[in-house]
């Protein structure tokens, strides 16, 4: 978790530092959208559960490392107030095999969305606020992987 803006190039450099045996790097970047239910969003605030968040992210990363041949993976999630267009989340995977890298990316983001204790609150342009509802489609996406790990 971090309040700072996500630096993709720096994270990729950190993941691959000193390694030249990596064949491919998959990534997924989640971005704050500008509308929700047809209303324009002024900002998005991310709350999380310190302590449990770190454990959940470590567990999710372990699950991916056990399931695919990965040389490493990175999970970065912002907390605090974000503007539309800013990155909320970054997932990176390094593998000798491109399919492993991309599948592990999907796995990591699916579990992150259903098992990591983050909550989004949207503030609309009229000043009103609303907590974002969880989506059943996210549970279904995670369920396709069977159990975590």
């Amino acid at each position: 978790m971090q309040t700072d803006i996500i630096d993709l190039t720096a994270e990729m450099a950190r993941l691959t530092a000193g390694r030249i045996d990596i064949g491919g790097i998959g990534s997924f970047v989640g971005v704050v959208r500008d509308t929700a239910s047809g209303r324009r969003i002024a900002s998005m605030t991310l709350e999380h559960y310190p302590g449990m968040t770190e454990n959940a992210l470590a567990e999710i990363a372990d699950g991916a490392m056990q399931r695919w041949e990965l040389q490493g993976c990175t999970l970065v999630h912002r907390v605090g107030e974000l503007q539309p267009g800013e990155m909320i989340v970054l997932v990176l995977t390094a593998s000798p095999h491109r399919n492993a890298a991309l599948e592990a990316c999907a796995y990591l983001i699916d579990w992150l969305k259903t098992r990591a204790p983050f909550w989004k609150k949207e503030r609309f342009e009229d000043g009103s606020e609303a907590w974002v509802d969880a989506r059943e489609s996210d549970d279904l996406a995670a369920a396709r992987w069977g159990a975590l790990g």
């Binding site: 989640g30 969305k113 969880a134």
Partner: protein, 83 residues
């Protein structure tokens, strides 16, 4: 016992954390929720959304049958919406 609330549960209860005395007879998470619901109208409002309340005991996802003890950290929150 340390109780934490997040997101709209925090807003309804009116605080993010409280320390309570664990009553005799409360041995699992389901019984703890019944106890907390009676503490205040804010608590009642938070736990009224029963289907949308998730919990963790010592930072691990839990369900109503999960045992609780006075030394535990118990957290209540809505389904997660990160990512």
């Amino acid at each position: 016992m340390k109780i934490l609330y997040f997101a709209w549960l925090r807003e309804r209860v009116g605080r993010g954390q409280e320390d309570i005395e664990l009553p005799a007879g409360v041995t699992n998470l389901g019984e703890l929720i019944v106890h907390l619901t009676a503490l205040s109208p804010g608590h009642a409002s938070a736990f009224a959304q029963g289907k949308l309340v998730r919990a963790a005991v010592n930072q691990v996802f839990a369900d109503p049958s999960t045992p609780v003890a006075a030394s535990d950290e118990v957290a209540f929150f809505p389904p997660v919406t990160g990512g």
